[in-house]
């Protein structure tokens, strides 16, 4: 086995896994706090992606500057969605919640198709498609930057959950909603902020994807199913689980693509087979705390 190529394959897998993590972390936060299966998550990514694209092409604003803008914008949108759509069904059966979020997905996607057409668009910044060389390794600069953003935001979120008052409240609600309510935690506010933060993470994912791949109205769908699989694998609500799950998925895809003949056709199949196997052994996910 050629070690240089092996290193390249592993690097590819980690970079892809980092991207998955950025999207899965926001999703698992929302699920952990509210127990709501939020299909709109993919659309926050799509909106973040278009926002970045338009800010860049119309006003020349660098994607790194639009990152905080996208985070704020999607936070506000997330809070609004929670307040006006999710909150009324928070105690309704799961099926109703799924139908509601799925309905929102269809509305947002179709609005995007009407406003921006179904064309695939992408932008070219000064540092697009520049590659960094580490010995025999060659990795895209934007992918590395994307990974850095993912790590940075995930660490920030973890710290916020550990250190801040809001974080403690979030963890309390995640563990036991009723008990938290009885202890005087303002669950409604925790819900709203958690949904906002989750959506903001999705928006940040959009900023990164707009840089490294392309944008079109259905781009969220490409990610959201994988993100769900990752969340299930990691254990619903577990951020560490989402990160590990993302890396497992990214690495398996990369290894299968490279080392199996006609492998890219198999990559997703094998990855999901691995997920199924892990779930058979640990039905509640890798990081599920009893």
């Amino acid at each position: 086995m050629d070690l240089a190529i092996f290193a390249q394959v592993i690097a590819n897998g980690i970079l892809t896994g980092g991207l998955y993590a950025l999207i899965a972390v926001g999703l698992t936060l929302i699920f952990g706090v509210m127990r709501v299966i939020n299909f709109v998550h993919g659309e926050t990514l799509m909106l973040g992606s278009y926002l970045t694209y338009f800010l860049f092409t119309l006003y020349g604003i660098d994607p790194f500057l639009s990152l905080p803008l996208a985070i704020c914008a999607l936070f506000v949108l997330g809070v609004a969605i929670q307040r006006f759509f999710i909150n009324p069904v928070i105690d309704a059966p799961h099926l109703n919640q799924i139908l509601l979020t799925f309905g929102l997905v269809l509305i947002i996607q179709n609005l995007a198709l009407i406003l921006w057409s179904g064309n695939y668009i992408s932008m070219t910044t000064r540092y697009s498609a520049i590659s960094l060389k580490f010995g025999p390794l060659s990795v895209g600069l934007t992918r590395v930057l994307g990974l850095i953003i993912a790590v940075f935001l995930t660490v920030l979120l973890t710290l916020a959950l550990k250190r801040t008052e809001w974080g403690k409240a979030v963890r309390a609600v995640t563990q036991d909603r009723e008990a938290a309510m009885l202890m005087g935690v303002n669950v409604n506010r925790v819900n709203m902020v958690a949904f906002g933060v989750g959506s903001a993470m999705g928006g940040a994912g959009g900023v990164v994807t707009s840089m490294i791949m392309y944008t079109f109205p259905l781009v969220g769908m490409l990610f959201v199913l994988k993100a769900f699989a990752i969340v299930v694998l990691g254990g619903f609500g577990s951020i560490a689980g989402a990160v590990v799950g993302s890396l497992i998925l990214g690495l398996t895809e990369s290894l299968v693509t490279h080392y199996v003949p006609r492998g890219s056709g198999w990559a997703e199949g094998v990855s999901f087979a691995v997920l199924v196997l892990i779930l058979v052994v640990r039905p509640k996910g890798l990081f599920y705390a009893e």
Partner: protein, 409 residues
Amino acid sequence: MGRFYIRLMAFIFLFSLLGPIAQAAETMKIGVILPLTGSTAVIGQEEKRGIDMAIEKINAAGGALKKKVELIIEDNRGDPTVIVSAAEKLITRDKVVALTGGYSSVESLAFLAAMKKYEPVSVWQGGGAVKMDQMYGKERWFFMLHPRSPDYQRNIADFLNGIQPRPNRIAIAYEDTSYGVDHSKVAKGYLTELGFELVTFEPFKSGSLDFSALLTKIKGARPDIFYWIGYAGDSILITKQAKELGFAPKMLLDTVGVGFPEYADSLKKDAEYICGIEVWGPYAKFPASVQYPQFYPKTEDWVAEYKKRYNREPDYWSPISYVALITLTNSINKAGSTEKEKLIAALEATDTMTPMGHMKFFKNQFGAIHQSFHDMIIFQWQKGAKVPLWPKQTAGGKLGYPLPAWDKR
């Protein structure tokens, strides 16, 4: 009162009988079936733009057999059942002398199955599936203008074979639904027949979020040419990641994914030198017809006229529809009659240059006796525009080959 109505009805009835007779004496009716509404309306409307341009010119040049040509246009809404009833109505009620139109292969197959009963002379621009050739290609009344789906790969193979110095090692990657799978199989056949070495032959999932693993593998196989068969989004990402991985073979080639204007707009100079194929493009460089310069100016002039009229860029559905209708009326004039056998003979003798390419019916390898257009255009992005490089005799520039390093583009 009752008597008045009876008289009125009788009068209307008599008049309606006279109407078509009087009209038939004055005009030459041709039936056109297009998907003018429905999900494929964008294409039906583009076809109609070509047809509107054609009929104006035909009648300005004296029509057919000194009669004004009258088009009876039916909208089949992209529906294969409606196409059959529309064609039956045109034949039995309107008594048209011939038919033209069509878009998809599904519609065209339904049309052909139903028309075997009537055998109307049809100069048909719809459908590229070889199934049409195999099942109905021997029908003498049926004339196909659309290139057949394997023609894409035959053109690509011939194009690659003509490059100097000739490349040898080819890596193929294809998206794994029927589009990519079918095309890759045909490509493999043509390329191995010409003695190329296929160093990889890998499927991928369209909409993949990352192609770096696939590209690392292909880069490792050291191909001269990397040829992928994917959709628009895939092509953008594959190009970006090829650059990131420093993968710069002598040529990067795709089928249709790199043809969209958004591709070059998105990638800017990274789209430079990428090659693709399309049935036809407004940048094509076909010369004017010797026989029919009034109908078929050189491509550039035809496109200018189209742009002036519609204020937009044509895609290939307008010129192919334009050529179909004019071929029909030219052949009626040449036959001097609308009698079926004479008209078929005249159509078979068609041999002229058109803005769409060389128009001549030939017997193809898939079982059809009347196929016309089969040369497609292979282009290379150069300075943000498509430069046609194939067919060779109508090339509009020089092929950039082998490709310079990514940072020199």
